[in-house]
């Protein structure tokens, strides 16, 4: 016979204002199985918890129901108190009479009646609760970081500095990401390369970091503490161990005129190349699509001139499997392009800007390369079309951002600041030039940000025009910018030599397929979703996977670095224990009834359902049944709802318990 204790909380006046708590306690006290019932002003307070613990011991209670707020609020609090009093914590349940009752009703009599029913249901349910042992999972104290931009680099360095091994995977031939492409950074105008490259070198030299550049994630198996990650190391055609980075292969390569993606296609590179001189690793890669050897079988010059014999045309993609305990996703962003988008795409292009057919209409990243001392023009601002210095330059903000009609409604966050920076860089380099900026709003929240923006207007002579541009077209060698100045209420036409578009930040192409491999969720734009927008901003809902940088949403460098360090701290928290403890609210399969249809496997969002073979003593296979890995199960109950033979049940939410709750009504 159960001896259930019921504790009804007033929650100050939050509950007692509309629910007669004393009556609830009195009524529930009469229910079969209830040995004790009382009410108290603040159950979650220290005296409230002491009352709970004392009563459990004095009354020899077998189960506890706390009628108070939502279990999301205080279930952990009360289960801990129950455990301290010597009961299994999972023999304690909460009846929500605040959010589900007192907060949403006005009539005290009706609300009290409802509260009694809610508590009654939980009394019936808790009677059937089982003692559940805490689940422990071993932890592999190695971490995977996906993406070698500033986010991935920062997270990798922080984790490695703490003494844990890190596998850093980068898709491109070099780490560095977008930050390596930037010229100067706001709001201090320090050179991006100067602050970035030392960190890249630290990664290369760190004894705890294994860098897989030119590699991609192929497959992810396992669960928190125990992931198995398969990495595709794409054929570089150059042996990283032998190559000394002397660069003679690049000098001798007869193919010289391939547009360099790193320079936004402004500069040229050979077929065997490093994307930029400060690349890490400083090992070239052969672009097989453009290499004469791979296209015709002739040439082979790079192999002949390579002293250490590092060039290897036979190299193939290799798959490497790495066991890790935690994953930091830091895949960054792509820039929106104004060209025509595929039919049926949610996102549209800018036909009114000529779909990017005018050569001197460039995006902000291209301007960065023009302004960069290590860029294709050596830091001179020159037009791509004819190499002339633009004397009138127009910057247009919010291209794709905050443009619902184009399919993107969010703000890309960094464009106001980098456009202000661009006007300054322009003014420093072209003294007799004039910069105009079309903008909707200037969004400059950040330390020293607004001061920076004001400086671009007050000291660097940029003319800011509040209003948007309707159209761009080429007229002779000028670009006509047709816009409106809504502050004055007039149409504006500027004949510009160059136009720079502050294009929106979008998730990387293929972000969705990586998310599917990882089993993490993403929003309609393919930005990865955090577990809680405010309180768990760097964790995914999938345990053991963390987010850093712009893959989660548009971010500037300071925010990205902060989030990367936060993600690293989360990984280190996980690695602080040898074994993980987790809530045992997981699904269990009743193998006798399971017919092995695996409908549960199809619906499981966590990838927790595995196939298990049942064999007799001679080892003959009898049947294959579902097995729920308790380390992975998220306790959502979808499998239970799906199973046609009712052979899988979530502990604490079994069919029997739910029926008992309904019958209590």
């Amino acid at each position: 016979m159960s001896r259930i204790g019921v504790f009804v909380c007033h929650c100050g006046e939050n509950i007692s204002r509309t629910v007669d708590v004393e009556r609830v306690a009195a009524q529930v006290g009469k229910m079969p199985g209830v040995a004790f019932a009382t009410d108290y002003k603040y159950m979650c307070s220290d005296p409230g918890q002491t009352l709970l613990k004392k009563t459990i011991q004095e009354q020899k209670l077998s189960h506890v129901v706390v009628a108070a707020c939502s279990p999301r609020m205080h279930e952990k609090t009360f289960r801990k108190a129950v455990e301290a009093a010597g009961l299994n914590p999972y023999l304690c349940e909460m009846a929500n009479i605040r959010e589900h009752c007192s907060w949403v009703h006005e009539d005290k009599q009706e609300a009290t009646a409802k509260a009694i029913e809610i508590v009654g249901m939980l009394v019936e349910r808790v009677k059937k609760n089982r003692v559940l042992p805490t689940i422990t999972v071993p932890v592999t104290k190695r971490s995977l970081v996906i993406g070698g931009g500033i986010a991935g680099i920062q997270a990798a360095l922080d984790i490695a500095d703490c003494g844990h091994e890190v596998i850093l995977v980068e898709r491109e031939p070099s780490i560095g990401g977008h930050m390596a492409q930037l010229s100067e950074t706001f709001p201090t105008l320090d050179c991006s390369q100067c602050i970035m490259t030392p960190k890249m070198v630290d990664v290369a030299n760190h004894p705890k970091i294994t860098l897989y550049s030119y590699s991609e994630i192929e497959q992810v198996d396992g669960y928190i503490g125990n992931f198995q990650v398969t990495i595709r190391r794409k054929a570089r055609s150059v042996d990283e161990d032998k190559c000394t980075g002397c660069g003679i292969c690049m000098e001798k390569c007869p193919v010289k005129k391939i547009p360099n993606k790193f320079d936004c296609n402004l500069g040229m590179r050979p077929a065997i190349y490093v994307p930029f001189p400060q690349a890490v690793p400083n090992t070239p890669v052969i672009d097989r699509d453009n290499c004469i050897k791979f296209k015709t079988g002739k040439c082979g010059l790079c192999q002949k001139v390579c002293g250490p014999g590092a060039v290897d045309y036979e190299q193939e993609d290799r798959l490497v499997v790495e066991p890790v305990g935690a994953i930091v996703v830091a895949t960054g962003f792509d820039l929106y392009t104004i060209d025509e988008k595929p039919k049926g795409s949610m996102i549209k292009g800018y036909g009114e800007f000529g779909h990017g057919k005018i050569p001197d209409v460039i995006d902000g990243m291209t301007f960065e390369r023009l302004a960069s001392a290590s860029g294709p023009t050596g830091g001179k601002i020159l037009r791509p079309s004819d190499g002339k210095e633009p004397k009138q330059i127009v910057f247009i903000q919010c291209i794709g951002s905050r443009a619902r009609e184009k399919g993107i409604s969010y703000c890309s966050k960094v464009c106001c600041m980098y456009t202000a920076k661009h006007t300054m860089l322009y003014h420093h380099k072209v003294h007799d030039g004039q910069a105009y900026v079309f903008f909707m709003d200037a969004r400059t929240p950040g330390k020293a940000y607004d001061e920076f923006w004001r400086r671009s207007i007050e000291e660097e002579e940029a003319v800011y025009i509040r209003g948007m541009v309707s159209r761009l077209y080429q007229k002779g060698d000028k670009i006509v910018v047709m816009g409106s100045d809504i502050a004055v209420g007039v149409q504006v036409e500027i004949e510009a030599d160059m136009v720079v578009l502050a294009t929106a930040i979008q998730p990387r192409t293929g972000a969705d397929s990586l998310a599917q491999k990882l089993g993490i969720s993403y929003d309609k734009y393919n930005f990865y979703s955090e577990a809680h927008a405010k309180l768990r901003p760097v964790e995914c809902a999938t345990a053991g996977i963390y987010l850093a940088g712009a893959c989660q949403g548009p971010k500037d460098i300071p925010d990205t670095v902060s989030q990367a360090s936060a993600a690293a701290a989360k990984v280190m928290t996980l690695f602080a224990k040898d074994k993980l403890e987790r809530e045992p609210i997981v699904a269990r399969v009743k193998e006798a009834g399971c017919v092995g249809c695996f409908a549960c496997k199809k619906v499981c969002a966590y990838g927790a359902v595995e196939e298990k073979e049942i064999r007799d003593r001679q080892g003959n296979l009898i049947k294959v049944v579902a097995y729920v890995n308790p380390g992975v199960c998220g306790g959502c109950g979808t499998c239970q709802a799906t199973c046609p033979s009712k052979s899988v049940e979530l502990d604490g939410y079994t069919d029997e318990q739910i029926v008992a709750m309904i019958e209590a009504l």
Partner: protein, 293 residues
């Protein structure tokens, strides 16, 4: 081959007056393409710009009555004039969105509305219903070597959720049709700009300025001629062209065709049947030079 296409036809006032050649060439082209065209009996003015500036209920009711008349005739409603097209589509859109307005309008015209028929511009019929392939197959004299600046004006694609004709900022439907009949189209900057429309009567100075920019940009892009699908655009670009040349001391000499005239020409219709003689900027020298007559 699909069944024969049949449409009810709403010419609108302009086509019975200043744009008679648009009406004539439309009827002749459709006959040539074996597309049925039955004029809506007893149709009247759609209200055009004045009505909706004065009284919404009046403007909706005028169009609704015309739609109701068109419902008596088989087939979707074919419209040639961009302004009529815009008003009829707007009326359908507004009445479909608002039950209150629909009831008011039904009371005003004293008839129930079905609102199930489609209103289609001639361009849509040629490019989509007939289809570019079948259109190309009907060509007898491809317009080879003729460089055309396709001029959309304001109302064909705007507002996008009402007209639903093509991409609002970078439409291609006119170019698609012309390419199907063998013409060359030029890429130019002012194909979506406003010509000034009916300010031609009250503020001709504004219209001359706007229209000059359009003609200048077409000429700069290397066009031989301009093609339109709206009688008002046609009036401003064609009738006013001589005057504009005088004001700005330039010489454009750009014939301005209706879409049905150029497509008709490619389909083998004669200059008379297409009303080419009614154009103010004489197209004959150009067409002779290109050996299209």
């Amino acid at each position: 081959m699909k069944d024969k296409l049949n449409y009810s036809y709403y010419p609108g006032c302009s086509l019975h007056a200043s744009a008679g050649e648009y009406d004539l060439s439309t009827r002749e082209l459709f006959k040539q393409l074996s597309i049925g065209l039955t004029e809506v009996p007893d149709w009247f003015c759609c209200g055009a710009t004045p009505a909706h500036n004065v009284d919404e209920l009046l403007s909706l009711s005028l169009c609704a009555k015309n739609l109701e008349l068109a419902e008596q005739v088989e087939g979707d409603l074919a419209v040639a004039c961009a302004a009529c097209f815009s008003r009829l589509k707007t009326t359908q859109h507004v009445l479909a969105e608002s039950d209150v307005k629909r009831k008011q309008v039904e009371k005003a015209i004293d008839a129930p509305l079905k609102l199930d028929g489609k209103v289609k511009h001639l361009l849509e019929i040629l490019a989509r219903d007939l289809g570019l392939e079948r259109l190309a197959a009907s060509v007898k004299k491809p317009l080879a070597g003729l460089k055309v600046a396709c001029y959309y004006g304001c109302l064909l694609t705007r507002p996008p959720d009402v007209t639903n004709l093509d991409c609002v900022e970078a439409p291609t439907i006119m170019e698609d049709v012309l390419k199907a009949v063998g013409a060359e189209t030029v890429a130019w900057s002012h194909r979506m700009e406003c010509c000034g429309a009916n300010f031609t009567l009250s503020r001709p100075g504004v219209v001359i300025q706007l229209t000059n920019a359009i003609l200048e940009s077409a000429k700069e892009a290397g066009a031989d001629c301009v093609m339109v699908a709206c009688p008002l655009c046609h009036g401003n670009l064609d009738i006013r062209q001589k005057e504009i040349e005088g004001v700005y001391s330039v010489n454009y000499g750009l014939p301005v065709f209706y879409i049905t005239q150029l497509v008709g020409l490619a389909c083998g219709l004669s200059a008379d049947k297409l009303g080419l003689g009614a154009l103010i900027v004489n197209p004959m020298p150009l067409l002779k030079e290109k050996q299209l007559l």
